[in-house]
């Protein structure tokens, strides 16, 4: 409970009370009316009614200051959104998925209210995952000494998600200005909260966290909610720590239009949640304490009705989204290289190893742009600079504000990158997504979310992140230090995936990734970090555009299309075949998997008529399947034989060197596939 009572039924000025009541009436009128749109097949097919959360939602919106604060509402936050400034018409435009929906032109679900322009963020449907964006954004506010707080809102049940714990742990550890609001209505759909966690009030699970203040309030009561939210915000500002506000609410209706609460709530309960309607309570208080007459309230009710009617009319005549626009805003336009449009160079000089290329490019980019940041596990402590020393010397040069360790929480690493990049489009964030690509799976949830932010907001927000992952095997690392996961990663529209093999390409692609808007997964073949065979001369300013493959060996008899660890193997084989006069093999290093350089693929197919796709990853389900399928569809008539593939066995990567060798592809296997294919 709040200690100070800044607001009360007896003393809050009448104008304020009238404003609140009007917001509540308009919100409720739309909440009550939303199901009609579905009944009439107009839209709003997902509606999670907020009735019963009125007090806290009004309060969240009222304390939110769009000049300085940021708000992450959840799918039940209609009144929050309205109270924060989103108009009735804008609510309906989102509800019925119109092109002019300010959240994102009908691309995201209904009942996901947002207005990125005003710092009311467009959040995922993935319950509570925006807690990490809130923490990341708060990190930016803190670093840039920006006034304001971040408010994140969710239900109590979704606090069970591990990533919510990560967010609160991180916010507490970093002392971030976040208000985490838990709107407790006792249920997660039909599941009573007792099935989520042992404490009745999940906020109390966090009572041992340092630098974290916990407030409880009555979310059904306007004044208690207002006092608590106002005090919580002040507390965050004064103490530079996060807070949790757990607001006791009720869910008057079903979870959403696809739920039927009478299947799991008895009449007693269905009745008392009606009786505790927060709007009715507020109305009673206004009358009881003679702040308003019945006539005055009725006048406001009529005004609200008129407002909603007008909003409805306007929204109904708004334009629908254009089906031809689906490919807009999938991924932002990348940085354009003026000097290296094909990502090729003639530079001669001392060859540099891949690891040096990465380290030096990172440093160069950090010098070039002061709004660059990097974090990850084990990235910087004294003389250590990453598990493979890729970031060595960076903290010394750029300081702890820009180069720092992250907790062992991969989702948090990616989630806060997403969040922090919301502060400002100039920021460029690099993260080591995990110590090894193998440990990136916990971050997949945030990656998926990140992959569609740009599309979902219709271009209003682009997470500008480079996610580096030390990938692949050949180091005797076993099941969890050998995975190469591009097969899964390339299935998501909205993120780029690059996989260089050579030092110069790594430098050039890294520069392009960091300078571009959007998210790029930068996969590093860690077995080649220090390999002399992939060391190359590198121009200081080298750039490799996305979607530009590179011919590493010219040939006329057969094309090997490859990337990552297998590129130098194929190159070695091509050299060997040439020397021995067996055949002229062309080796096309894709460098970039998504976007894919299909023009280069087509050119090489036309040239040789025979294609072998080689990669380290499993043949079954590997990225090569996509390449092969594309060739079959688009270049079939140029083929003289079947498109063949070489990759690893469909097994995990065994730890024993004997097993590893039996599983991962090697030159011998590539050679025999080449020889076979040459016979056609």
């Amino acid at each position: 409970m709040a200690e100070k009572k800044q607001y009360s039924i007896k003393h809050t000025d009448k104008e304020t009370l009238a404003r609140w009541l009007k917001l509540m009436l308009v919100g409720r009128a739309i909440d009550d009316r939303a199901p009609n749109y579905l009944k009439q097949a107009i839209g709003w097919s997902y509606h999670a009614p907020y009735a019963g959360h009125d007090g806290i939602q009004l309060a969240i919106g009222q304390v939110f200051d769009r000049e300085n604060d940021h708000l992450f509402p959840y799918y039940r936050d209609m009144l929050t959104a309205h109270s924060a400034g989103i108009t009735a018409e804008e609510l309906i435009l989102n509800g019925i998925s119109k092109d002019t929906d300010v959240a994102g032109g009908g691309r995201h679900m209904s009942n996901h209210f947002a207005k990125p322009e005003w710092n009311i963020h467009n959040t995922s449907s993935c319950t509570g995952n925006h807690t990490q964006h809130a923490a990341g954004l708060a990190r930016a506010l803190k670093k840039y000494k920006f006034p304001g707080v971040v408010i994140s809102s969710q239900g109590e049940s979704s606090v069970s998600e591990g990533y919510v714990y990560e967010a609160i742990n991180g916010a507490s550890n970093e002392r971030l200005p976040v208000i985490f609001v838990f709107q407790d209505n006792g249920y997660g759909i039909s599941v009573p909260k007792a099935d989520q966690t042992a404490n009745r009030k999940v906020a109390d699970n966090f009572s041992g966290f340092k630098y974290l203040k916990i407030y409880h309030c009555n979310g059904k009561d306007v004044f208690d909610s207002m006092n608590t939210m106002a005090e919580a915000k002040q507390y965050v500002i004064d103490h530079e720590t996060p807070v949790i506000v757990q607001a006791n609410c009720i869910r008057i209706h079903s979870h959403s239009n696809s739920d039927r609460h009478e299947l799991y709530r008895d009449d007693y309960e269905l009745n008392y949640v009606q009786e505790y309607d927060p709007l009715a309570k507020f109305r009673r208080l206004l009358l009881r304490y003679e702040r308003f007459t019945e006539e005055e309230i009725e006048a406001l009710e009529n005004e609200a009705k008129e407002e909603v009617k007008a909003a409805h009319k306007a929204a109904m005549s708004a334009p629908d989204p254009d089906p031809d626009s689906i490919h807009d805003f999938v991924v932002p336009e990348p940085y354009i290289s003026e000097k290296y449009p094909e990502g090729l160079h003639q530079h001669e000089g001392e060859p540099k190893k891949l690891i040096e290329a990465l380290n030096e490019t990172l440093k160069a980019e950090f010098r070039h742009n002061p709004d660059t940041y990097i974090w990850g596990q084990d990235i910087a402590y004294k003389e250590k600079g990453g598990i493979f020393n890729v970031t060595k010397g960076m903290q010394q040069e750029f300081g702890k504000e820009r180069v720092f360790n992250a907790p062992i929480a991969e989702d948090y690493i990616v989630g806060t990158a997403n969040g922090m990049s919301r502060f400002n489009d100039k920021l460029r964030i690099v993260v080591e997504g995990a110590e090894f690509a193998d440990y990136f799976w916990p971050a997949m949830e945030q990656l998926v979310e990140t992959s569609h932010d740009y599309w979902r907001t219709k271009g209003q927000f682009s997470p500008n992140i480079t996610i580096r992952l030390a990938s692949g095997g050949y180091i005797g690392g076993g099941l969890y230090h050998s995975q190469t996961i591009e097969g899964a990663l390339t299935t998501f529209p909205g993120i780029r995936v690059v996989y260089p093999s050579y030092a110069d390409d790594a430098a050039g692609l890294l520069r392009t990734s960091i300078r571009s808007r959007g998210t790029t997964l930068f996969l590093e073949p860690k077995a080649l970090y220090n390999a002399p065979k992939t060391a190359t001369p590198i121009p200081d300013d080298f750039e490799v555009p996305f979607g530009k493959a590179r011919i590493r060996r010219e040939g006329t008899d057969l094309s090997i299309i490859t990337y990552g660890n297998t590129t130098p193997m194929c190159v070695e084989l091509a050299d060997q075949f040439r020397e021995e006069g067996k055949a002229e093999l062309e080796v096309l290093d894709l460098r970039s998997l998504s976007p894919l350089d299909t023009e280069a693929i087509l050119r090489t197919v036309k040239k040789t008529g025979k294609v072998l796709v080689v990669h380290e990853d499993k043949v079954f389900g590997g990225f090569g399947g996509e390449v092969a399928a594309w060739i079959m569809e688009e270049a079939f008539e140029y083929l003289d034989g079947p498109v063949k593939r070489v990759g690893s066995a469909f097994t995990p990567v065994g730890f024993s060197r004997i097993l590893e060798k039996a599983i991962l592809p090697d030159i011998k296997r590539i050679e025999s596939a080449v020889s076979e294919l040459l016979k056609y």
Partner: protein, 168 residues
């Protein structure tokens, strides 16, 4: 005994039952039943000895009929008033907030100068936290219909005996 009121919500079933038991235990004519649903400052202040029925709802909250009266109570002078609270709660379902409503009400009344009477020992109840607890006592009578309903009768009887000594 001076004019004494039992104020509780007539819309409740369980709280009302206990109120009736209390009334019976005093001789019926000594106390007046007053509906908390339409309580006003004036009605409340008309009594110097008051028994209030305050159950707990929603994980530690006052029921609306009382919560909505708190702004009025907070500006009343209750010096010279003797008030005894009885509260209904569920110690098994809500062990973290057992009888909190009674505790909240007690705090409000004390802050306005009322003298609270009728405290009872916490012995015999099992719970984790209660705002109604002070030391080894509840700030009133604790009734748990859900889990200890069979003890209501004797708990009420003992409490009324105790109140007779406090009230005059």
């Amino acid at each position: 005994m001076k004019k004494t009121a039992i104020i509780y919500s007539f819309n409740t079933k369980k709280t009302a039952k206990i109120a009736e038991r209390i009334k019976e235990a005093f001789n019926d004519d000594q106390v007046e039943m007053v509906n908390a649903e339409d309580i006003t400052e004036e009605k409340f202040l008309a009594y110097d000895q008051i028994i209030m029925g305050v159950s707990t709802w929603f994980d530690g909250e006052l029921p609306n009929h009382w919560d909505e009266f708190v702004p009025a109570l907070e500006e009343m002078d209750l010096k010279g008033k003797k008030i005894a609270l009885f509260g209904l709660g569920d110690q098994v379902g809500y062990p973290e907030n057992f009888l909190d409503g009674l505790g909240i009400m007690a705090e409000v009344l004390e802050a306005q100068g009322a003298e609270l009477v009728g405290f009872t020992p916490v012995e015999g109840y099992t719970f984790e936290r209660s705002r109604a607890r002070r030391g080894d006592e509840f700030l009133g009578l604790a009734i748990d219909y859900e889990n200890q309903g069979s003890m209501n009768k004797e708990r009420v009887a003992a409490w009324v005996d105790q109140l007779r000594k406090s009230f005059n």
